[in-house]
């Protein structure tokens, strides 16, 4: 029974994994196929599973529908700028929450956990009014500053820092290492898988974010890629699904690349966390 049972279980597991994988891959595949179709082929029923002739022109139409180079640049500045700011604030915050005992620590940590639970839709109006007073609406600052302190990042890093054995830090202190040095040269490298995972989550979130940039910006010069893509969609009348999907391909491509390279670290991070 043992061997047969295990083998049967393996087969079932593979089938299940394949099924789940298919569920995740299918939308991407459909987007890819649709991006290369002609409009009549998009509407065709039963649908075709492979484009009859490859319409690369869809990408050209999507790209030239607006200042896409500006959008891509803005998206990069916002996603990376946010990420850097989050690290600069998150690492010291997480280190102090994990390694120091000070008055009000639990309360402060509790406050940052509360921040984790409030979606941006709830607070956008007061933040908008505040940024408007500072004259930052319709600038890239409005897309970066409100996300500078990431509660999620602080929480994740704190957990990682807490798992570093005390001996390591004590040894460093005996060698006269400054707290600053311990934080950046010992703790941060040890938490690398967590940092990469968090970085990826943050990057994807801000790269894809539609709601916040839409609310905070009015002009094309400071807008990001998702808004450019949404402009491909007409309110009434025929939607050019093939061009919209071509635009979406442009949007997801960088994320797929980043994900591809960071995959190993992500798996590490989850294994690390569950230890």
């Amino acid at each position: 029974m043992g061997l047969v049972g295990r083998r049967a279980w393996k087969t079932i597991e593979s089938i299940l994994l394949f099924g789940v994988g298919l569920v995740f891959v299918f939308p991407f595949l459909w987007m890819f196929i649709t991006a290369f179709k002609t409009m009549p082929e998009v509407y065709q029923f039963p649908p075709s599973w492979w484009p009859e002739s490859w319409q690369f022109n869809n990408f050209r139409i999507a790209w030239s529908s607006g200042p896409f180079l500006t959008y891509v640049w803005n998206s990069l500045v916002v996603a990376l700028g946010t990420l850097i700011l989050q690290f600069l604030i998150g690492v010291p915050a997480a280190y102090s929450f994990a390694r120091y005992r000070f008055k009000g620590r639990n309360m402060l940590f509790g406050l940052s956990l509360i921040a984790l639970m409030i979606p941006s839709q709830v607070i956008f109006l007061p933040v908008y009014v505040q940024l408007s007073h500072w004259g930052l609406v319709d600038t890239l600052w409005a897309l970066i500053l409100p996300f500078g302190a990431s509660a999620f990042g602080i929480f994740l890093l704190r957990q990682a820092f807490m798992q570093v054995p005390d001996e390591v830090i004590e040894a460093a202190r005996l060698d006269n290492a400054s707290e600053w040095k311990i934080m950046w040269t010992i703790m941060v490298p040890l938490a690398k898988p967590v940092l990469v995972t968090f970085g990826l989550f943050s990057f994807i979130y801000h790269w894809n974010d539609y709601f916040w940039p839409l609310i905070m910006t009015n002009s094309d010069t400071v807008r990001t890629l998702p808004i450019g893509i949404s402009m491909l969609k007409a309110a009434e009348g025929g939607k050019q699904w093939n061009v919209i999907m071509a635009g979406n391909m442009i949007l997801v491509f960088p994320i797929l690349v980043v994900f591809f390279f960071a995959q190993r670290h992500i798996i590490n991070a989850f294994v690390y966390q569950s230890k």
């Binding site: 529908s65 007409a234 309110a235």
Partner: protein, 445 residues
Amino acid sequence: MKKVKASLLACAFGLTAVLAGCGGSQQASGNNQSPANTSGSTPTGASAPASNKPVEIDFWYALGGRNGEIIQEMVKNFNESQKDVVVKASYQGSYYENHSKVLAAVSAGNQPDVTMVEVGSIGAFADAKVLEELEPYTNGAEKKYIPGLLGNSYWKDKLYAIPFNRSTPLLYLNRDMLKAAGLDPEGPKTWEELRQYAKTLTKKEGDKTATYGFSTAIDIWFYEALVFQSGGSILTEDNKALAINSEAGKAPIEFWTSMLKEGIMKAPPGEKYNAWDVAKQDFLNGQVGMIFTSTGDLRGLKENAKFDVGAAFMPANKSYGAPTGGANLVILAKSSDEKKKAAWEFVNWMTDTAQTVPFSLESGYMPVTTEAVESAEMKAAYEKEPNFQVAVKQLEYASPRPMVPGYKELQEVIMTEIQRAVLGQATVDEALQKADEKGQKLLKK
């Protein structure tokens, strides 16, 4: 360790570079704003400012795709056509996203001067005192617009909005299919005829239905149309309660339900506009013979259909009838007087015959002035493509959409209830009773 330090330093530099980048683009956009024309403007007319600098106004629009590009082009032409006003146009998402943005911007005090508002929301905006009353600016200019399109421009007898991109629901026909079945290719004129046509066009293969005669999304817009056709209205005259718990309110649901039961109508699956897309796709693939959809779809359907597409009035019950849709242009009350005057110049120009004719021809929306409908250019286009004229002709029977402040929420309630009735989860009476109760609460606010 040195490596880490170096990379941190790089990070810090990176950050400065990024931040500098922000500042840069902010400045850049500031430079863009500085008007190109500082000399040569003539201080004549109402819009001329005290100085020689042109007045700059912000225009927020809510159309993506090709129609958005057409609007950008129109704004460019306006800016080049005169020297007193410079319009900065920017896209703000869908009607509803723009709606939220404008409200947020008004509370923060950095609202645009002109924007597009979906016709059903005009009342909510006007009631909140966000909109500028337009009669002091128009000097009677509102008479040039087609009366059937002005229904959603007034709130408490005051003019607040000018029709811009306007649509109305129509019956679309697969003329080839109708001809093949020996039916009049002009389509059914009454509900009973629609039922007969749908029956004739429906084809069964064994247990499965290969072709449905008729399909429509169970959507509030079409429900409004059928209520109007039955001689009813959605709200009571004082706008204080729903008027659909009546014969005219029941008739559309009973009509749809009976056709669904007969198997000659398909209710397309999907939430909101997804159901519309399914209906259009089925129509293009010859799986349904007739659908309800917007005038705005005519161009797209014609381009992608392999058969002769026809557009017709929505069939009559007691009479013809249809709501209108799309959006109007409004001026915001919070802008400065100088900007409001400039904004009116712009609104007037955008909706004038010289602009609305090409806009209509390119976008598929209806022209908004009576003069435009009579123009040689429009007449030539109608001759070539009679389908385009159907919507304008149907305007004679059009009614405004309900526009009380609570209707945006209420229409979701009505839609849910009629869908429940159509799906057989509730009787028609139960559903309308429930909608009525919820309506009372929402309209009292």
